[in-house]
């Protein structure tokens, strides 16, 4: 059984034939025997519940207790559990039941015998959501209600919704084309905002460290329940294959020819694909065109220029942001977790690995401003690549955010850090303050996978993150394995992934947004298919793979709860063609998918062991 640590071999062997996928049946048995060692009830594990056989009787007892208590409380006790309580990780039955028992029974009258067992609910913290836990309020509830009332649906008739103070998610509202006066000077000290000039530093040269390239296999406890999720390949067919089948066949045949270095055949097939694609309609045609172009580049060795012109890629990014919910979902769910982690903290610092145009932050700042007890002092360090023109891109973004902060009366401090790669960061560059004084959250949206292109980079970054001693690390990544060692496997996986993604764009209202989003995604396709080595940065990996990496590196999961789930679901309903989108909870992580095919995953992490952070 081969475990697939893909940062080992960024350069594939082009002559290798399409072999068996890296994980397969063998892995099933390994997972199951590992679970046996943990004492999990296997039958329940297959159905999605993690209960130790030795805990079964106790879990049964909690169920009985809960049943009895629920019989005795009034209807609004149950309604409270359903609508106010935040639920976490329903797979962990014991902890879930415990959290409900605490909600219904104040601790003083609670039977301590019941509580004793929960300490054993080992892997994850029982992060019980207090009923007043703050929630990002970013939705235009009136519009949702109107929309659904039209179609006669009643699902949003919720008494508690009147408590939400809902606003639209800032997007164009903040970053509209109307120019705002650029102020580069820091405001005088009498105003609360403070924008530090960015520091520029060169990427470090020299060979990557050979150590930590071969991390040990993760302990069995890190795996999720008995289902072999590591080797899961979800596929949804959105087009009747009967129409597009010749096209897909041609694409696959071409990719195979490329893999076998049979470039004459590949060339012929690429031309054929062009003709076939024209006769197709909709998403399939566009996807096929991008993949064909990428194959052509690979065949003719005409690689795309890396990196893109910055302002153009910004434009593409923003259109993608507006067209479909992926980025908004990512920002929203990550912000929800950060908001919860920052509860009670007076000074907070967000380190954003994926700064771009800073679109994630106004919503968080707004939620912090509305916090009971007033907002914390909010510091933001935005990290991004250098601009190619002479503009001070990160600085501009910081200024806009500073203006926004001023408007909503949040004390704000900003610094932009330019880096070619996150691996160039060192903790000393971040001006970290003692963790008792300032709580840190690290945020990465679609950035970490790029580090897998260079050996040792991801481990360096994890090690630096640990030195930041964050309360929370939020990570959003594509839910796919586009980093396998075999080219044809990567091609196949990405073909289906992007087909699904393009299909979800078809319902977009604005055709310009749609086109820009397709170009944005097309660049990713090109990178996955045409590039290799350090140039191939779109090295997406699945949640299971990321879980393994993170637990090995010393991080433990922090669960996203039912409130984040619900709000994310409501967010999706705002998008045209929204019916196809769905949120799924997976062991504390939230996945956004199109017609049941998961496409992106948000996960949150904390240090397993806070005290060892310094020595890393």
């Amino acid at each position: 059984m081969k475990r697939d640590h893909n940062h080992l071999q960024p350069n594939p062997d082009p002559s290798s034939l399409r072999g068996a996928p890296s994980t397969g049946k063998a892995k099933v048995w390994d997972e199951e025997s590992a679970q046996q060692d943990c004492g999990m009830d296997e039958l329940l594990a297959v159905l999605g519940y993690k209960v130790k056989t030795s805990d079964m009787a106790e879990v049964a007892q909690k169920l009985e207790q809960l049943e009895e208590v629920m019989c005795n409380v009034q209807d609004d006790g149950i309604s409270h559990l359903a609508s106010e309580t935040v639920h976490y990780n329903p797979s962990d039955l014991s902890t879930w039941l415990e959290s409900m028992l605490s909600e219904l029974n104040p601790p003083s009258t609670f039977d301590p015998f019941g509580a004793a067992g929960t300490a054993a609910a080992a892997l994850d913290d029982s992060f019980l959501g207090p009923a007043e836990s703050s929630t990002l309020t970013t939705l235009d509830f009136d519009n949702i209600n109107r929309k659904h009332q039209k179609s006669g649906q009643q699902i949003f008739e919720e008494a508690s919704c009147s408590d939400y103070d809902l606003k639209a998610i800032p997007g164009k509202a903040i970053y509209s084309q109307k120019t705002q006066p650029q102020t580069h000077d820091s405001s005088s000290s009498s105003t609360p905002t403070n924008v530090k000039s960015e520091k520029r530093f060169k990427s470090t040269s020299g060979p990557p460290s050979p150590s930590d390239i071969f991390p040990p296999p993760p302990p069995p406890a890190a795996a999720s329940y008995g289902i072999p999720t590591a080797s899961t390949r979800p596929v949804v067919l959105v087009d009747s294959q009967e129409n597009g089948i010749r096209l897909v066949h041609a694409l696959m045949a071409c990719a195979e020819a490329v893999q076998q270095n049979n470039l004459n055949l590949a060339e012929a097939l690429v031309k054929q694909i062009g003709f076939l694609a024209i006769s197709q309609a909709g998403a399939m045609r566009k996807v096929a065109t991008y993949f064909a172009e990428a194959l052509a580049r690979r065949i003719y060795r005409f690689y795309p220029q890396n990196p893109l012109d910055h302002s153009f890629s910004d434009v593409l990014h923003m259109h993608f942001y507006e067209t479909c919910p992926y980025l908004k979902f990512a920002h929203f769910t990550a912000n929800q977790a950060i908001l919860e982690a920052f509860e009670g903290k007076k000074r907070v610092h967000v380190i954003d690995f994926s700064m771009n145009q800073g679109m994630q932050w106004p919503a968080l700042m707004q939620a912090l401003a509305l916090r009971v007890g007033g907002p914390p002092a909010f510091r933001l360090t935005g990290i991004g690549p250098p601009s190619h023109d002479n503009s001070d891109h990160l600085q501009e973004v910081g200024c806009k955010l500073a203006q926004f902060a001023k408007k909503i009366h949040v004390e704000f401090e900003y610094r932009g850090l330019v880096a070619n790669s996150l691996a160039d960061l060192d903790a000393s560059m971040l001006d970290l303050r003692p963790s008792e004084v300032e709580a840190v959250a690290v945020n990465s949206v679609f950035e970490l996978h790029k580090l897998l292109a260079r050996p040792g980079a991801i481990d360096k970054v994890f090690s630096v993150v640990k030195q930041m001693k964050p309360e929370l690390v939020t990570i959003v990544e594509q839910e796919a394995n586009h980093n396998g060692p075999v080219f044809l496997d990567r091609f196949t996986e990405s073909l289906h992934f992007y087909s699904t993604l393009f299909d979800s764009l078809e319902g977009s209202v604005s055709s310009q947004d749609k086109v820009m989003s397709e170009v944005y995604l097309g660049k990713q396709i090109c990178n996955v298919v045409a590039c290799e080595g350090v140039d191939r940065i779109e090295r997406h990996e699945s949640l299971t793979q990321w879980r393994n990496r993170l637990s090995t590196a010393g991080f433990s999961p922090v669960h996203l709860g039912s409130n984040a789930f619900k709000q994310a679901s409501m967010l999706l309903a705002l998008f045209a063609g929204g019916d196809g989108y769905g949120v799924e909870e997976n062991n504390g992580c939230l996945m956004l998918g199109w017609h049941n095919r998961p496409l992106i995953t948000t996960s949150a992490w904390k240090l397993t062991n806070k005290t060892t952070a310094i020595s890393q």
Binding site: D41, V46, L63, M70, I78, H87, M252, S562
Partner: protein
Amino acid sequence: MAGSNEVNLNECKMVVPLNTWVLISSFKLAYNLLRRPDGTFNRHLAEFLDRKVPANLNPVDGVFSFDVLIDRATGLLCRIYRPATAEEPEPNIVELEKPVVGDVVPVIIFFHGGSFAHSSANSAIYDTLCRRLVGICKAVVVSVNYRRAPENRYPCAYDDGWTAFKWVNSRSWLQSRKDSKVHIYLAGDSSGGNIAHHVAARAVESGIDVLGNILLNPMFGGQERTESEKRLDGKYFVTLRDRDWYWRAFLPEGENRDHPACNPFGPNGRSLEGIKFPKSLVVVAGLDLIQDWQLAYVEGLRKAGKEVKLLYMEQATIGFYLLPNNNHFHTVMDEISEFVSSDC
């Protein structure tokens, strides 16, 4: 009140293995949170709590699966389960709809349960069950992700079932070699069993053959309160009150439980006499409070001269077929296998 609850819980615990009891009790608990007294449903919490699994092209125990969007307008998805073959242990992603190999290949269209309101085709409990059916019946299984109540009342679930049926019937890759036809069986548990019946009725009306119906604890009812309902109310995970809630949520507003959807052989029902209805395998759990309705259904089929085999599992509760840890499970799986293979 508390005292009688204790007795109930103890009785209940004695007839099922502990892990089964924990599983079904958890569902019961969750479902209590989701049903609101005003008839609305907490769909977000339901989706959050439901344990789901993705489709998986990598074979697990010889079975792989993939989802297909068969009707974009309604977002109707089906999950297809196929056996991996010796010749092709790893399915090729371009050949998911490769023709089935065999003179006779049964195709089972499966409708998951959940009282019309709960669960999905990708719920872990149903994904697991469908995978088993592939192995047991040497069949292709198509699990229909039909629209649920209360957001989508009658006849949405039946319409979706019919759409899926027509889709399956028109797939050339699902045709058996013997007669170039798709050999269709309809199966379902709880509300899924009810849907299977109604889809079968529609199929025969349209002149399309269904080879057999497999109904596991099918959900039927009626206005009258039957003896089993009174006797078993609240005793084995299920209450009359929740049954009533689900019917109110599914049936058209203002209709009562003698609506033919709920009570197909009741006062508003229709006899199947003279109609070429498929043979049926009906499984009834002896501790299911709605058994009188299920038995009346069997009686209705018999009176109309239809072939029906009744499997009455005396000490079985609802959901016994979700875990392979009891004799009822194995008995029923054997019978299902027999029922399907007798045509091959």
